[in-house]
Symmetry: C2
Subunit: 182 residues, 2 copies
DNA sequence: GAGAGCATGTAATCAGTTACATGATTAC
DNA sequence: GTAATCATGTAACTGATTACATGCTCTC
């Protein structure tokens, strides 16, 4: 996962390890975190797989390493970005992919979001069924247990809203709730 | 994390490892998953720490092991459940805790949710600032990058809605969007 | 000259998965 | 009799964190 995100940031610019961490923190930090302890070994692995190259630059007394994506790396990244059977797709993993969708054609991005939306709708139905079961049983004693279920349902619904707006490249502000008092 | 969740399910009933997995899958499966490969070693560890005891029962030819929480285990669980400085609190971790809030007094549950809400509001303000920056820059080229930011904001807003409803033990159905056509 | 930020890395550890391995019991 | 489910576990591996270790460069 992180390997692909690194490739994604290298897709547009050559960066140092340090830069990459900053990009990840600021760009997809909501969905993924990295520590240097995992980043640098990962960069070595990417180099061994020939998905990136590395060139040392000496600025004054300090050596910095700039990483550049290779053609093979670009292919691997694009493959991941458009993969139909992207299985371990938690919403976080999905959003980390969407972050790079500006690199795709509109049609491709649309299709991927649509596929994800379809899967979510199935899942939402399951949750709604589960919720009904709980309500039948009329379990007032389990208020918080039920509330976590409601949370799950709301979450899916809000992702679905996001999908429908983003898919059409509508004005994202329609997602915001205006009537918010705090 | 999983250790506490296991203790939570044992808090009310003695269970086998197999049962615990079912409870986790069905109860907090939205937030956490377990495999047997992590569950059984974890149960051993809990036993070493004397947070659970284990008794073998022989049903016919099959040996089953029932796990029971100890007093110490109950204390450790309750400590976790009410901990003020619960740092690694992703929303998933938080919700996994809320799942067990029926074990708390209303006042305690209220206070914990309120604290979480306060933190989220600060975070939301940060995200809104970041969003404004993007808009100032008027980056139409980065539609999807911005859309993931909107997603983050919507997510936080929907958690805040959940907090305000749940905190007051209001009817959870008010969280549902009625005007939903699909 | 001090502190923030730039820059790279290792070692120990932790938390978890996947695949393997086995076999009993129940419901149809 | 067979398939689903009950039931427990190990071994190899993966992916990541935390703490440690070092030292330069820029800005005030």
């Amino acid at each position: 996962m992180l390997e692909y995100i690194i490739l994604g940031f290298l897709y547009q610019n050559s960066l140092t390890g340090y830069d990459i961490k900053k990009c990840i923190d600021q760009g997809v930090g909501m969905f993924y975190r990295v520590s240097y302890g995992s980043l640098y070994p990962l960069l070595d692995r990417l180099r061994n797989k020939e998905l990136v190259t590395c060139s040392s630059e000496i600025k004054g007394k300090r050596e910095t390493k700039k990483y550049e994506i290779t053609d093979k790396g670009q292919q691997v990244f694009m493959q991941w970005l458009t993969e139909e059977e992207y299985e371990n797709s938690s919403i976080e993993a999905f959003m980390a992919r969407v972050y790079f969708f500006d690199l795709l054609t509109e049609a491709t991005a649309f299709a991927i979001i649509q596929r994800y939306e379809a899967k979510l709708k199935v899942y939402l139905q399951e949750l709604l069924k589960k919720k009904e079961k709980y309500e039948e049983a009329g379990r007032q004693r389990y208020y918080y247990k039920v509330s976590t279920l409601y949370f799950g349902i709301c979450k899916i619904q809000s992702i679905l809203d996001w999908c429908s707006v983003t898919k059409q490249k509508e004005d994202l502000n329609t997602l915001m709730k205006v009537e918010r008092e705090d």
